[in-house]
Symmetry: C2
Subunit: 363 residues, 2 copies
C-alpha cells in the first residue's frame, strides 16, 4: 500500500547507485549542510514558513547534524528557476509549487493542482496512498528531481474583480491576472490571462490595466490590500481546489543521503505539510472577517462561468492526453480518483459540514 | 505559533528533569526497545495499521536503533485499559482513541471527537496549530501521559438500522449500539444506548436484541457484514465528524528520550496520521460501492433527529462545563474554533466540493 515509500526508498537509490560516484559519507549520521531555495517570498509567512518548519524538523530529528538553510527567491535562485537549480545541483533542494513549471511540461501541474481537480485531503490521499507520488516521481525523475509533497493551501479563493461578474458574457475580454493551466482555461472562455508578479498587481488593478487578479486565500490576499481597488471577491478558486506544495530534491544528492536521513526528510515533509494546511485553516477565518469588514464583497462565480470553465478545462485535458502520454497517465489516475472520492465525500463529509454550517448560521 | 512543539519539547522535559531519575542513556542515539499496545484489532487494518506505520517510521529514522513493537488488544493489555497501562508504565505507549476513556473524565473526548465537533482538517488545525494540544496535554499530564495526535477516520457513517428512522419518534426506545459521549446524547433524545464489543454486534442485530449499531465507515463496516441484517445505512455520523487517533506515551519514558528521538516520534505521528486519513479516503469509496451493490440502503438522518441531537449535545456541554473547569476550557476553545472554521469553510471549500459533486452526478 505504501507506494510512495516503495518508490522513494528503493527505486531512485538503486538507479543512482549505478550512475553516481560513491557517497563521500562514511559515518552513519554525518554532518551535512544543504541549501533550500523557496519560490515564495518571506512576506507570505505560511508558504515561505513551510520550508523553515521543514528545515527545523530535519535539524531536530538529526540532533542538528543535518542543517538545511532556507533562502527566499532571488537570494540565490529566482522563484521560477527553482526546479532548474535543483535539477542541475546548483542547490540541493527547493520548496515550490510544481505547477510553476507547466511551461516546461504540463505534467508539472499534477504536483500542485489542476482546474477542477482533487481537494486537499483527496490530493494527499492520491499522492501518498494512491498512485500520485509514483507517477509524479517517474515524471520528475527525468529532470533529476525527487519530489515530496509538503503542504497545501486548501481550496483557494477565485480572486478580486473591479466589477461584478454576472454571467459568462462578463468574462469576454476580461484581463485577469492568472497563471499556468488556469490561464489557458480563462482564455478559452474569452478572457485574457495576464502574468504579473505579486508586487505589481495592486497598481495594475488600481489603474485598470487589469480587471481582476487571483492570489491565494483570505490570509495571504489580505496583505496585498486588493479590497480597496477591486472589491468583488469571488469563490471558489476552481483552478486550485487543494493546491499542494512540493519539496524537490536533486536526485544525486538524495541518493547520497544515508537511508535514515531520507526517511527523516520524508516524515519532515509530511509534518511541515500538516503545519501549513493547519495554519491556513487557523488563519483564514479571521482574515476573511477582517476583509469583509473592510469592504470586500463576497460573490460566488455564476453557474454558467463555472460550467464553461469546466468544459474548457476538460477539453484541454483531452488534447494534452492525446499528445503527451505521461500527461494521459497522470490525468487518468487523477480523474479516476476524483470520481470515486466525490462519490464518498458527498455522503458523510459533505452532509456533516452542511449541517454544521446551517447550525452556525442559526447561531 | 507552534504551540504543540513548545509544549512538547520544553515543558514536560523540564518538569520531568526535577521529578525523575537521570536517564540511563549515555549515547546520543541509544538502542531502545519499546512496546506499544493498540486499542484496535488487527482486522481493522487501517486503525491497527497506523501503529505499525508509526513504528516503522521511527525505526527508519533512527537507523533501526529505536524499535517499537506493536501489540493487538489483549496480547499484553486489553483495548480499554491502554491509557492506564501507559500511565503506570506497564507499556511505554499506546495507540488509541482517547474518547474510550470518557468514563474517567469527559475531557478525554477532545483528543478524538465530540458530537457536532470539528471535521478532520479542523481537528488537525485546532490540535496542532491552535490550542488543542496544549490544553489536551495539560489534561493528560495528570495521568502521566503525553499525547500526540496520530490519525483520523474523517467523517464517519451514522450506523446500521434494522428499520428506517423516519422521524425523531422512531428514536424513542431504540436500542442502539453506541458508546461514550454520543450514547448520552442518544439517551437524552429517547434512545437506549448499548455497549457491545465489535464481535458481538452482528448476532445482536440479527436476533433483534438491538435495533441498530454504529461502527466507523464503509471500509471498516463492510468487514462486519451488517448490511445483511440491518440494511438501512445512515449518515452522517454526527458524533464523529472527524475522529482523531492518538499516541499516548508514558511521561517519564518520554522525558528519558534523547531530544531528537522525541522529535522523531512527533514527526512519525504526523506522517503515520496522514497515512491513516489518506488510506480511509482511498478505501472508503470502493467499499461504499460494494456495500450498496450488496443491499445497503443509504439514508440521511431526518432533520428533526439531527436538530434534537444537536440540542441535547449542547445541553450536555453546558452541564459538563459547569462542573468541570478543564472541560469548560477545552469546550470553549473547541467551539470557538468551530464557529470560525465553518464561517470560512462554507465559502471556498464547500462550494468547490458541491460543484464537483454536481458535475460528477451529471457524468
Amino acid at each position: 500500500m505504501i507506494r510512495r515509500r516503495q518508490f522513494l526508498t528503493a527505486a531512485p537509490a538503486v538507479a543512482a547507485a549505478a550512475a553516481l560516484p560513491m557517497p563521500a559519507i562514511a559515518q552513519s549520521s554525518p554532518e551535512l549542510k544543504w541549501r533550500l531555495t523557496s519560490s515564495f517570498p518571506k512576506s507570505l509567512d505560511t508558504l515561505y514558513g513551510v520550508s523553515e518548519v521543514f528545515a527545523k524538523r530535519v535539524a531536530e530529528m538529526t540532533d542538528n547534524k543535518f542543517q538545511i538553510q532556507c533562502f527566499a527567491p532571488g537570494e540565490i535562485v529566482p522563484a521560477l528557476q527553482a526546479a532548474d537549480a535543483v535539477g542541475n545541483a546548483t542547490v540541493e533542494m527547493c520548496h515550490t509549487a510544481s505547477y510553476y513549471f507547466v511551461g516546461k511540461d504540463p505534467c508539472f501541474a499534477f504536483g500542485t493542482a489542476i482546474p477542477f481537480g482533487l481537494n486537499a485531503r483527496q490530493q494527499n490521499s492520491w499522492f501518498n496512498n494512491g498512485d500520485g507520488s509514483t507517477l509524479f516521481n517517474e515524471f520528475t525523475d527525468k529532470y533529476n528531481i525527487v519530489s515530496l509533497m509538503c503542504g497545501n493551501t486548501g481550496a483557494q479563493m477565485g480572486g478580486w474583480f473591479r466589477k461584478e461578474i454576472k454571467s459568462l458574457e462578463d468574462m469576454k475580454g476580461l484581463k485577469f491576472r492568472i497563471g499556468g493551466f488556469a490561464g489557458r482555461v480563462i482564455q478559452r472562455v474569452g478572457g485574457v490571462p495576464q502574468q504579473i508578479a505579486g508586487g505589481d498587481i495592486y497598481p495594475a488593478l488600481e489603474k485598470g490595466t487589469i480587471d481582476g487578479a487571483e492570489w491565494v486565500g483570505p490570509y495571504d490576499d489580505e496583505k496585498l490590500g486588493f479590497a480597496k481597488v477591486a472589491p468583488f471577491y469571488y469563490y471558489p478558486g476552481w483552478w486550485e481546489g487543494g493546491a499542494a506544495l512540493c519539496c524537490m530534491i536533486n536526485k544525486g544528492k538524495w541518493a547520497e543521503l544515508p537511508k535514515h536521513y531520507r526517511a527523516i526528510m520524508q516524515s519532515a515533509a509530511q509534518d511541515a505539510g500538516n503545519w501549513c494546511m493547519g495554519r491556513y485553516d487557523q488563519q483564514n477565518p479571521a482574515a476573511l472577517k477582517r476583509l469583509v469588514a473592510g469592504g470586500a464583497q463576497l460573490r460566488p462565480f455564476p453557474q454558467d462561468v463555472m460550467d464553461a470553465c469546466w468544459k474548457a478545462a476538460h477539453e484541454i485535458y483531452a488534447e494534452e492526453s492525446a499528445r503527451n502520454p505521461m500527461f494521459k497517465r497522470l490525468w487518468e489516475s487523477h480523474s479516476a480518483f476524483r470520481a470515486d472520492s466525490y462519490l464518498w465525500w458527498q455522503v458523510a463529509e459533505q452532509t456533516y459540514d452542511t449541517f454544521q454550517m446551517r447550525q452556525r448560521a442559526k447561531g
